[in-house]
Amino acid sequence: MEFIMELGQYMIANYQELLNLAWEHILMVAYGIGLALLIGVPLGVIAAKVNWLAPIILSLVNILQLIPSLAMLALLMLYFGFGFKTVVIGLLFYSLLPIVRNTYVGIKEVDESIIEAGVGNGMTPLQLLYKIQFPLSIPFLMAGIRLAAVIAISVATIGPYIGAGGLGKEIISGISLQSDVKIYAGAIPATIIAILADFILGKVEQKSKKRMAA
């Protein structure tokens, strides 16, 4: 009880600072995922459209995902230096797998008869892609984004090791100062952000799915 009081007091006293860290955290994640979408969606589309490229693209993004996060950030630091930018690139790599894979699966899953209706009505391959296949893969893509967001929010907490901000800063300084109040003050908001992201993106996913069940 006493601890909770202490934690509460600390968080209220430092709320401006915590809010800034949380905002920075969210920004890193948003940039990372944004970039991952920019790169991952086209990669997923290419994998779905060019059969022989699919295994290559999918294994590459899969390998990226398998590199331990600390190692990945350390390696990236060698090339991109300290700071925000490097963490964003790391998060981009981590988000790539769910986004590429779900785009790929989403496009592949489109019902054969719907494709046939599109082609049979005279759509070009490009029209088929942007009028039919891509819109129909959106629920899958949304699921990928949701997964990517949850992963990125947690990976971002080690950002401060390579000189970035975010809620990890509070946690890591808590570790070195052996202050459990500081650790909780960083961990609780990070968890809440993850839960909120999961919930909100889940809702969006549901909504995008609703109409597709023909």
């Binding site: 009505n121 759509m123 129909l136 069940a213």
Partner: protein, 375 residues
């Protein structure tokens, strides 16, 4: 017109799906492709809009080789209703129906007008349905949308692959009727795939019967029923249908001619005709010329109305006259909506008698009862 000449189709795995197929699909008619599962109906249909390419032979569309046509443009000229409807689930009904007009870049007002017109054509209220999604429609409604999507850009040709097969019998009948009604308005060249013989007999102008990638027989429903090419055709049509058709053809019109009728000469006075009609207790009589050829009919009602003058003034033409060697089936086609007496003439236009409509319908009733009971 669409013509297939000596078309062979061998799929990549070496399977020969079509062997020397020669077919003519008639312009402005409903052409039905029928045959057992796997006989190559869908393959044949997909050759036409080049969803499948043929191995050799030639396919002509309005005299042009389709291999030399741009497939995208070809497809936009041919409406296509695929086997499992294939509506786009992420698009509203409006956008589904507007698919091809949009691809053809029609202007917005024209598209909207067209979609509304099409929805009304299949009895779906545009205001109610336009903004719904396919999942919010019943199966039959979805099939209707599938059909009008194919009609949207006014293609000259419509390909329909088992469009009604997923429906319950009642909705299927309803959609068949709707298609027939529609066809009288739009007169498209329709290629319709089915494996249901009743459906084929009902809607087809021209039936192409296939088996194992070959065309076994093609012709009008009547010609298939009356001259099945071989045992397979007989079996596929089914004994019952052949029998009931034969029974109909076997009926001789002679049995339905009432020869005991009142004939009056064309130069008598009306009062004389009136008294004969009353005496014989009939309401109409056939008027003949001096050489006994047909002249017209008179009714008791008209005769009583003006009983002074010559009979000439009240002679009418019968709405329908038939000849004694007409087939029962032809007579049946014409007789609908006729309420007068129907004179039956010989080749030389001599009056033989009157068609006994009651007796004919009694026999038909008996025949169809029998058929229903049997099937």
């Amino acid at each position: 017109m669409i013509e297939l000449k000596n078309v062979n189709k061998i799929y990549n795995d070496g399977f020969q799906a079509l062997t020397k197929v020669n077919v003519e699909f008639q312009e402005g008619k409903i052409n039905v492709l029928i045959g057992p599962s796997g006989c190559g109906k869908t393959t044949t249909m997909k050759l036409l809009n080049r969803l499948v390419d043929y191995t050799d032979g030639e396919v002509y569309f309005n005299g042009k080789k389709i291999k030399e046509m741009n497939p995208i443009e070809l497809r936009r000229q041919m409406g296509f209703v695929i086997q499992n409807i294939g509506l786009f689930p992420h698009m509203t009904i409006f956008n589904n129906v507007a698919t091809v007009p949009k691809l053809l870049k029609w202007d917005k007002d024209r598209i909207k007008k067209r979609v509304i017109e099409l929805l009304e054509m299949v009895n779906l209220d545009p205001n109610t349905y336009m903004n719904r999604y396919p999942s919010e429609l019943s199966g039959g409604q979805q099939q209707r949308i599938g059909v009008i999507r194919a009609l949207a850009a006014e293609p000259s040709t419509i390909l329909m692959d088992e469009p009604f097969s997923a429906l319950d019998p009642i909705s299927r009948e309803q959609l068949q009727d709707e298609l027939l009604r529609l066809q009288t308005e739009i007169n498209k060249t329709i290629i319709f795939v089915t494996h249901d013989m009743d459906e084929a007999l009902k809607i087809a102008d021209n039936i192409v019967l296939m088996k194992d990638g070959k065309v076994v027989q093609q012709g009008s429903p009547d010609s298939l029923l009356s001259n099945p090419a071989n045992d397979f055709v007989k079996e596929f049509i089914g004994e019952k249908r052949l029998n009931s058709n034969n029974q109909l053809n076997d009926l001789s019109l002679a049995n339905y001619i009432n020869k005991d009728i009142l004939l009056v000469q064309s130069d008598i006075r009306i009062e004389k005709a009136t008294s004969s009609l009353i005496e014989r207790k009939v309401s109409s009589a056939v008027v003949i010329n001096e050489d006994e050829t047909y002249n017209g009919i008179v009714s008791l009602y008209d005769a009583i109305e003006n009983n002074s003058s010559e009979i000439n003034s009240i002679i009418k033409k019968a709405s329908l006259i038939i000849y004694e060697n007409d087939k029962v089936s032809t007579v049946l086609e014409k007789i609908e909506g006729i309420h007068d007496i129907v004179p039956v003439l010989s080749k030389e236009d001599i009056v033989v008698g009157l068609l006994s409509v009651d007796k004919l319908f009694a026999t038909l009733h008996h025949l169809t009862e029998y058929k229903r009971g049997e099937i």
